[in-house]
């Protein structure tokens, strides 16, 4: 059981690391939002399910309720994260920021 928790936790952390590096490496505002808003969803799912599995190790009603709350957090982030990302992109488009393309560069 501990091994499963460790695997989930570290793969989630790998996704978070990828997200942070992606924010630094990508060229412009719009493409930076891809790792910022999205690699976090997978990382968040993995780390929070690791915590849920860890809590459920000794099963009782209260631990089950805690795990249910964690699952609710996952659901809420999965609803709000795309909405927030879309709002940011929409704000960028309305303000007239042009997306970076390869043709501009060469």
């Amino acid at each position: 059981m501990k091994i499963i928790v460790m695997i989930l936790l570290f793969s989630g952390l790998a996704f978070f690391t990828g997200g942070s590096i992606g924010i630094l490496r990508l060229p412009d505002f719009y493409s930076r939002l891809h790792p910022a808003g999205k690699l976090d969803t997978a990382g968040q799912l993995l780390t929070l399910s690791a915590i849920a599995v860890f809590v459920l190790q000794d099963f009782s009603l209260h631990n089950f309720l805690t795990a249910t709350k964690i699952v609710l957090i996952v659901i809420i982030v999965y609803i709000t994260s795309p909405t927030a990302t879309h709002a940011i992109v929409d704000a960028g488009v309305r303000a007239g920021l042009k997306p970076w393309t390869k043709e501009d560069q060469s």
Partner: protein, 187 residues
């Protein structure tokens, strides 16, 4: 609401009654549904099972359900919404699998040493067959949840503008995801 002020309805009171009873029935159905949902959420969040907290939860979920039960279920008949939710829950595992695949792809791009040559940010546009607001919202959110693609804009006519980070994530659209959502929301 405005029906009562028309003279024709005043002349025919028998017409008024069925609409009133169906409205009352509809109110009861939405009230019970939202009450059950709110009370389950209350129990999950409170975690106490003594009489005082249960009574508090019953009272407050009843008040909230009475006030805003019709906000939760607007246009759908209460009976159809259960099947809709079941289909939606059947769609979610597939979506999570897709999110995972796309996450791995974006991870590969981010960690690749020659990333600048692999990526090709662009905005693509395509027309969608989806008509209802729920279906379009679900589709747009699914696109945004999948890494590599962000929905920029959806017009009234169903034209989606999507920002893609490279060619591969753009080619997958609309494709599979749209046909799955058409199955979830049949019109």
């Amino acid at each position: 609401m405005g029906k009562d002020f028309q003279p024709t309805s005043r002349n025919a009171p028998s017409e008024e009654n069925p609409s009133k009873t169906s409205r009352a029935k509809r109110f009861g159905a939405t009230f019970i549904l939202s009450f059950v949902i709110l009370f389950v959420v209350w129990i999950i969040f409170s975690g106490r099972f003594d009489g005082f907290h249960i009574t508090l939860g019953l009272i407050s979920s009843a008040i909230v359900a009475a006030f805003s039960g019709d906000l939760m279920f607007t246009s759908h008949e209460p009976r159809g919404i259960f099947r809709l939710w079941i289909r939606l829950f059947a769609y979610i595992p597939w979506l999570i699998y897709q999110i995972f695949l796309a996450n791995l792809h974006v991870m590969y791009l981010v960690f690749h040493p020659k990333m600048m040559e692999l990526i090709n940010p662009q905005i693509i546009e395509f027309d969608s067959e989806l008509k209802s607001d729920y279906a379009r919202t679900t589709f747009a959110n699914s696109i945004t949840l999948t890494p590599g693609t962000i929905t920029v804009n959806v017009t009234v006519l169903g034209r989606f503008s999507v920002h893609c980070i490279d060619d591969k994530s753009g080619q997958a659209l609309p494709g599979d995801m749209e046909s799955k959502i058409v199955k979830v929301f049949p019109e």
